[in-house]
Structures are given as C-alpha cells and as structure tokens.
C-alpha cells in the first residue's frame, strides 16, 4: 500500500494505452459507425424516394386510365353517331331507289298500255272492217267504199 515507483510505471502505462487507443482503435471504429450511419440514412432516403415515386406513378396511371376511358367513350359515341348517319343515308338511298324503280315501272306500264291499245285499235278496225265487209258484201262494193271504211277505222 505504499506509494512507490509503481505510480510512475502506471502513469506511463496509462499514457501508452491511451495513445494506442487514440491512434489505432478509436478512429477506425468511429469511422465505420459514421459510415454505417450514412448508409442507413441513404437507404432510408432512397426508400422514401421510392415511395414518392410509386405514389406519383400510381397517380399517373390513374390519370392515364381516366384519359383512356374518356377517349374510349368518345370513340364509341362517335361510332354510334356515324352508324345512325349511315342508317339514315341508307334509308334515304333506298327510298330514292324505290321511287326510281316505281317511276320506271310506271313508265313501262304506260308504254305497254299504249302499245296494247294501238294493237287493239288496229285489230278492232280490222274486225270492224271484216264485219262491215260481210255486211256490205251484199250491199256495196268494197272498192267504192274503201275510203269511207278507213276513215272510220281511224276514228276508233
């Protein structure tokens, strides 16, 4: 329990230990701790950034979907409108075509009627002449009365 030379030996020992610790032990460990801290902070920041980016992406996707929906609706509307137009046009065309066909048929009928009537007239005239011939054979000479008969046939 005496204070003796050990005191100085202990002081020197202590100084050497502290120097060694300060030179070789403390700096690398503290450096590693600081590096890890920076790494973790970086990782957290990156995670936060990723989160933000995901939110932005989600928003963007929603916007795109909305846009696509509205443009699809627009396209469908346009198509429906166009279809209605086409139907309308077709109806008009069909009606016009019908009218044309009808008119043509009517004209044909008219022509046919006229032709038939002409034929009929001629045949009636011939029949009348033949009948008149038979009647007149007894009374008049065909030659004498020919002009009269033809005139009559024209009047039919």
């Amino acid at each position: 329990m005496n204070i003796n030379l050990t005191l100085f030996a202990q002081m020197i020992t202590f100084a050497v230990f502290v120097w060694f610790c300060m030179r070789y032990i403390w700096p690398p460990i503290i450096k590693a701790l600081a590096e890890r801290k920076a790494k973790i902070a970086e990782g957290l920041a990156a995670a936060e950034r990723g989160h933000q980016e995901r939110l932005l992406g989600e928003q963007r996707a929603l916007e795109l979907i909305r846009e696509a929906k509205s443009s699809a609706a627009e396209i469908v509307g346009q198509a429906q409108k166009r279809a209605a137009e086409i139907i309308e046009e077709a109806k008009l065309d069909a009606r016009a075509e019908g009218d044309r066909l009808l008119a043509a048929a009517r004209a044909e009928i008219e022509r046919e009627t006229n032709r038939t009537r002409e034929e009929l007239r001629e045949k009636v005239a011939l029949l009348a002449i033949a009948a008149a011939e038979k009647i007149l054979q007894k009374e008049i000479d065909l030659a004498d009365h020919r002009a009269l008969v033809e005139d009559f046939a024209k009047q039919l």
């Binding site: 005496n2 030379l5 050990t6 202990q10 020992t13 610790c21 300060m22 403390w26 460990i29 701790l33």
Partner: protein
Amino acid sequence: MAASETFSSQSYIQHHLTNLTFGWHPEHGLTLAHDQAEAAAMGFWAINLDTLFFSILLGALFLWLFKQVAERVTAGVPGGAQNFVEWVVEFVEENVRGSFSHRNPLVAPLALTIFVWILLMNAMDLIPVDLVPHLFSQLMAVLLGADPHHVYLKIVPTTDPNATFGMAIMVFLLMLYYSLKMKGVGGFIVELTLQPFGKWGLPANLILEGISLLSKPVSLALRLFGNMYAGEMIFILIALLYGGGLLLAGTAGLLQFVWAVFHILIVILQAFIFMVLTVVYLDMAHQEHH
C-alpha cells in the same frame, strides 16, 4: 486458505493486503519484500510487480480485443465481437458528447481506455480472493522454494493507490495542459485568483480554487481506490468465515454470492464514474471564462 492456528485472521488479512513488491532494501539489497515492513523499508524506489503485471495484462487484453475488431471493422452488418465493441464505443461516445462540448480528438479514446481498463481491473475483484494468490504462492514454493506465507499477490490493481493515482495524475496533467492551452497562462491565473470573490478576495480565491483544483485528481483516485479496497476487504472478511464450521461456511457462501452480485454494480459504476468525471474535468479545463 482460511484462518487456522498457524495462520491467524490478522495475518490472513495482512497477507491479502500486501503487494508483491520488488525493490532496493537497505539491508538485503535488490530483492522481493518478504513482509510489509520490508516493503515499507524499500521506500519509494520499489515496484509492485503484481499491480503492474495485472494492469498491463488487462490493458493489453483490452487493446488486443479492440484492435482485432478495429482491424476488420466494417460498415456493413457487424459480427458478434464488432457488435460488442461498437456497443461499448457508442456508449462512451454518447457520454463524451453529452458532457464534453469542445473539439478534442483525445478525450473520447481517453474515456474509452479509462472505462474499459478500470472495468477490467475492477472485475478482477470478482475472482475468489484466495484462488490466484494461493496458486501463485504454491507455484513459487515449488519453483523457487519460497516460503508460501511470504509470497504476496494482489490481483486487483485498482486496490493499489499507485494505479488509481497514476491515472488520476495523468488526468490532472491533461487538465493543467488544456487549461493553459485554451485559456493561456494569464487566463488560467485569472481563473484561479479572481473568482468567486473578485480581486479584493484574492487570497481567499486562490485558496478556494487551488483546493478545488487539487481535490479533483485526489478525489478521483481515492474514490476508486476506496471503493475497490473496501470491496476487496469485505471479500477477505467473508472468506475468513469459511474456517468457522459448516454453518458459518454456508453463511459465507451465501454472503459471498450476494456481495459479488452487488459488487458487479460497484465495478461498473466506479469505472463509469471515473470516466465521466475525467470528461467533465477536461471539459471544465477547456472552458473559457469571460
């Protein structure tokens, strides 16, 4: 080695409180002291081999362990040893940052060294008091033919005031150095002489400040020494009970366990106090008064 007829309680205690001292004896020359009287006769020019050996052994153990980790330290996922070392380093750094408000690359490593070294030296107290000294004295008896009753060994360096004062004096020198460096000679003298009572109370100031300055290393050293010495003494007294029959031995076993558990607290606490006070004292040395 309990109290026996040939080995009384008093000599048992004495035996445990004597260092293995090597030095120059006025009559016997350069030799190991065979008892306390011889050690005292050697005066200042003697060395406590046990204190020196165990303190250097433990300090080297601490530095070796931490150096191992420092060499392969990684900022990635730490292994077991690195985890432990980082935990200690962070604990010390946190304390230094809490009480030391200046920039000085010395203070944190100093605090770490103080904390771990003292902790290890204190922890030697938890080894049963007789184990190492007994083995050592038997070994010496066999090897050198020494009388085992006169082979001394104290394995707890912090129960030797040389060790605690050695550290406290180094801390004190650092305090003086940084006081002079940061405040200048004039500033330091002003701090010692012109407060707290102003210039008319100069002698009183000098006495007060001088005592408060000197009391720092003294209290630092004596607190640690006193606590560890007292703890060691209790262990020795408990060990004495082992020789007193079955009942006393059983009681002693229980007491020893309880005291050891309590002593773990003291071991850590004293190391922590020494570290924190060192940091605080150095912080005060750095502070400039205006």
